[in-house]
């Protein structure tokens, strides 16, 4: 990209809330079971059926809005958004329009070297659509032999979070989404899975000459369904727009589809072809009045947020800044860390294990720490055993791997496998004698002042003891014997 251009980006994010029941009926939410089983006259749009608002969904939405520093509207209503599509049971979506639940918030995004404050225009509630499955090779409705509609998802509570055009690069967009996701995960109101579609994002993007105030003509990019695609799609689109402008052309206001296979965006429809949604107040629902008391009650249910938690970790556990925010940004890791801190007092040691070996195994197995079989108690027991010199750190790795796969107690694993470190000087001395005898060359080199040779000798001792020898004691004995 030419340096004199600057991207101007705004994001619209949809988050599915995991309430017990759907937004406007008593049906359960579905997680990919048999098609069309969690349905009723309401979410199938049968004639005569009527919506009833799920109070829990309002609470969850308000929780998110408050966390994003929004003002909660005391008077809020639903509108109908009218358009025809087979995944829409009523051919209108119950949504919010000019009186959304939350307005005027912001989210601070930590870009490492600077903070980007992204203003939140609005947080509103709506219902999700069903899912379409097109038979045929292309997967597109226009070319399919037949299409199947699954209404299990129809009516799932959804919130939309709309930002101001405050984002200035594709990286910032990605970081905004990651920050937002972590935040919502902390609130425990959604599983925020981009893969499963419970977190979805569209982007509005334009470019302008750096330093200009005026915002250029924007395009809307759809199908940005992973953090990577969000960044890649935006990068492509920004380049494309700059190219158009550089060639003396004009950006056309249109909706574009991101194709992750080619890494490009393609025009879907222009402004002229855009839907006229014919919004009007939903006459089947009554206005919602939210009292101050309710807002305060919801505020009380908001847990400590990552940024606050990170500061507390730094102070309370004397952790470095990096460790604090690494742990604080993941609710599961943070909770696990604090549970460990109750059993064991070297917080940095705990943090190191969680951040390195433990995280590596979790990533490999695609698991969350909550699902892991290693209890905080057992991890702490292992750390104590290391501290007491009963095993060295190399053995500890293998013990931990076993704990991870079996959920076993470290003490028992060490005993069963005879892994306890050999610190008995008499026993070690005998082995060292043997090693010295078998390796005269190395001994010679050591005596000539080549310090490296001692490493070789220690290695031999370790090999003979299958890694169980206490390396510190071995070092002491060899040095003593050869000097």
């Amino acid at each position: 990209m030419k340096n004199e251009y600057e991207p101007v980006i705004g994001l619209e994010t949809h988050v599915e809330l995991y309430t017990n029941t759907k937004m406007f009926c008593g049906c359960r939410l579905s997680f990919g079971e048999e098609k069309n089983i969690y349905t009723c006259p309401v979410c199938l749009g049968h004639p005569g059926s009527l919506p009833v608002i799920n109070k829990k969904a309002i609470e969850y939405a308000a929780k998110i809005a408050l966390t994003l520093n929004c003002k909660i509207k005391k008077y809020t209503i639903f509108h109908r958004k009218n358009y025809f599509y087979p995944d829409m049971p009523k051919n209108y979506q119950i949504s919010q329009y000019d009186l959304p639940l939350g307005v005027g918030g912001y989210l601070d995004v930590d870009m490492g070297s600077y903070m980007r404050r992204v203003r939140i225009t609005r947080v509103h509630m709506e219902e999700d659509t069903g899912k379409l499955l097109h038979k045929g090779t292309t997967g597109r409705i226009s070319e399919s032999e037949a299409s199947i509609v699954d209404f299990n998802r129809a009516g799932t509570p959804l919130i939309e979070i709309v930002t101001e055009p405050d984002i200035r690069s594709p990286e910032e967009a990605k970081e905004y989404m990651i920050t937002l996701r972590n935040l919502i995960l902390f609130l425990d109101v959604s599983d925020c899975s981009m893969e499963e579609g419970s977190l979805r994002c569209d982007a509005n993007v334009s470019v302008r000459k750096t330093g200009e105030d005026k915002i250029g003509t924007k395009t809307e990019i759809k199908n940005l369904n992973s953090f990577k695609f969000l960044q890649k799609g935006l990068e492509y689109e920004v380049k494309r727009q700059v190219k158009v402008l550089e060639a003396g052309g004009e950006v056309i206001q249109q909706t574009r589809h991101y194709d992750s296979k080619t890494g490009t965006t393609k025009a879907l429809r222009s402004k002229e072809e855009a839907h006229d949604y014919r919004y009007f107040p939903e006459p089947d629902l009554v206005p919602i009045y939210i009292e101050d008391k309710m807002i305060e009650d919801i505020r009380k249910t908001i847990p400590e947020l990552p940024s606050v938690k990170a500061k507390r970790f730094e102070k309370q556990y004397s952790l470095p800044k990096y460790d604090s925010s690494f742990l604080a940004n993941n609710k599961g890791l943070a909770d696990y860390f604090e549970q460990c801190c109750r059993h064991y007092n070297n917080a940095k040691n705990i943090a190191n294990w969680i951040m390195s070996d433990f995280s590596a195994l979790l990533n490999k197995e695609k698991m969350t720490i909550k699902d892991s079989r290693v209890t905080p108690e057992n991890l702490c027991k292992m750390l104590e055993i290391i501290d007491k010199g009963k095993i060295n750190s190399k053995i500890a790795k293998s013990v931990f791997e076993e704990m991870f796969s079996t959920g076993g107690n470290p003490q028992k694993i060490i005993e069963d496998r005879g892994l306890e470190q050999i610190s008995d000087e008499g026993l070690l001395e005998a082995i060292i004698e043997e090693v010295i005898k078998d390796n005269p060359g190395a001994v010679e080199q050591f005596k000539e002042g080549k310090d490296k040779a001692i490493g070789f000798l220690i290695g031999r001792v370790m090999a003979k003891t299958k890694g169980k020898a206490n390396p510190g004691i071995v070092n002491d004995i060899i040095t003593k014997k050869l000097s």
Partner: protein, 485 residues
């Protein structure tokens, strides 16, 4: 009197005295249907077999000493836009010709708990859009008083079948007069309760903010008894009002001494038939003779009520009816090769002209650039109408007016001129806009032996005043006419 002309409370009395069995009641209604329905076309679907088996069940219950509820064993017709589980509910439309609901409307559940007997699903204007019942996919309903004339609409079937003895009473729906106007044209009692008093759950929506289910009966007593059953809060309808339901029968007292009765002059002006006006004037005299205080009043905003209605109702309808797309249920054009074509052809073939006209009007009114000038402005004027009524009810207990500006008109007479047709509801529409309770009771017959209806309007939740005045006037008028079928 023939069994099929008895009221529900008369039948209850005879059931209690074991003078009649439920099976006999049902059979007499069936005979009457066979005798007249070829000429009237009141029903879209009859439920003869299930009615007989239900009658048997009711007779057993009564034989076993069960208490007799007001509508136990009473044959009742249900307008075909109220969902009945496992029984087709067509809205008199091709698009729902074979639609079988998977659930009961709340009012049906309530009637079921009374052990009522469903005679069948009554004919209507398609999706309740019309004032003459000529917009039915299943054919026009004829007025039992003169089969060359319309029964009114949209609840033409529910009104005609009660007037002709094809059911003891019926449930209709009223969006702009659809219960009261046909009740007036057919010489029966029709009541539209306060908006929110009766659950709309299971009523196929026409205009959600105006629709209300209500009874059509042969007298005010049956009407009050039916309100007792169908009124009351329902969690499935968010617009349902959560208030205690009074015993409506307790308001059946023939005493209107010192009651203040207003006559809105906007509802007594041009376009009202001379005979209709004279009937209302006679009743005003009657009211004064009975000690009521009658005064003229002006509600200036009523002038705009019709215009407001024909923006708001089609707007809501255009959205409510968009679910009929051939995807999940109902009619689908199977020839269509693309999605758009399926939508277009299904809806073009499935809906009738009047429904399409209103969908187009509504879509236009809600469109970007027109919303403010039409829908938004209509809502503001609607508030003016509400405020005018509010002011009027500071001074009056009820308001009275003709129900319909004319008696039953000839079939085909107004079909080519929708605007004239729309004027049929000029007296009833303002009531829906303000969500008020109102009744139409027979006020007498015209020179050509056609029924004239009187409308009595109450303040929000003041069904008591409406019923009191209706009951008193019903006794004073002494209307006993029956159609000469």
């Amino acid at each position: 009197m023939e069994i099929h002309y008895l009221t529900a409370h008369q039948l209850k009395d005879r059931l209690e005295k074991r003078q009649i069995s439920c099976a006999e009641i049902v059979e007499s209604i069936h005979l009457r249907i066979e005798e007249v329905d070829d000429r009237l076309n009141s029903y879209i679907r009859l439920e003869k077999e299930s009615a007989l088996s239900r009658a048997g069940k009711v007779d057993k219950l009564i034989g076993a000493g069960s208490d007799i509820e007001d509508f136990m064993g009473i044959p009742i017709a249900i307008k075909d836009n109220i969902c009945t589980k496992n029984i087709t509910t067509t809205c008199a439309s091709r698009i729902l010709e074979n639609y079988i609901p998977i659930y009961n409307a709340t009012v049906i559940d309530r009637l079921e708990s009374q052990n009522y007997i469903l005679t069948g699903k009554a004919n209507m204007d398609e999706f309740a859009m019309g004032s003459s019942n000529e917009n039915s996919y299943f054919g026009t309903v004829k007025n039992p008083w003169d089969t060359d004339r319309v029964p009114g609409g949209s609840s033409g079937g529910p009104a005609a079948c009660v007037a002709a003895g094809e059911a003891v009473c019926s449930l209709g729906s009223d969006t702009g007069g659809s219960i009261r106007q046909p009740a007036s044209l057919c010489g029966v009692v029709g009541f539209k309760p306060t908006y929110g008093m009766v659950s709309r759950y299971g009523l196929v929506a026409f205009a959600s903010s105006l629709d209300q289910i209500g009874p059509l009966t042969r007298d005010v007593e049956d009407c009050a008894a039916m309100l007792n059953i169908i009124c009351g809060h329902d969690r499935k309808d968010s617009t349902s009002i959560n208030v205690e339901v009074p015993d409506y029968k307790s308001f059946l007292k023939a005493d209107i001494k010192d009651m203040r009765i207003g006559v809105p002059k906007e509802l007594m002006v041009e376009g009202i038939d001379r005979e209709v006006k004279e009937a209302v004037c006679r009743i005003i005299k009657l009211v004064e003779d009975m000690g009521g205080i009658v005064e003229e009043i002006s509600l200036p905003s009523l002038e705009y009520a019709l215009s407001v209605y024909y923006i708001i109702a089609p707007s809501e309808a255009s959205s409510n009816l968009s679910r009929f797309d051939g995807v999940r249920y109902g009619y689908r054009d199977v020839e269509a090769r693309t999605l758009r074509e399926m939508y277009r052809r299904t809806r073009a073939e499935g809906f009738g002209d009047e429904v399409k006209r209103r969908i187009m009007i509504g879509t236009y009114c809600l469109s970007a650039g027109y919303y403010d000038a039409y829908y938004e402005k209509a809502q503001r004027v609607r508030t003016l109408v509400i405020n005018d009524f509010k002011k009027a009810f500071e001074k009056f207990d009820v308001l009275i007016s003709p129900t319909s500006p004319t008696t039953a008109f000839k079939i085909g007479e107004k079909m080519e001129d929708p605007l004239t047709m729309y004027l049929s509801d000029i007296c009833t529409i303002p009531v829906n806009l303000a969500g008020l309770p109102a009744i139409s009771i027979p006020a007498g017959l015209s020179g050509s032996k056609l029924p004239i209806g009187l409308q009595i309007i109450g303040n929000v939740l003041r069904e008591d005043n409406v019923l009191k005045v209706a009951y008193s006037l019903e006794k004073a008028i002494g209307f006993t006419g029956r159609p000469g079928l």
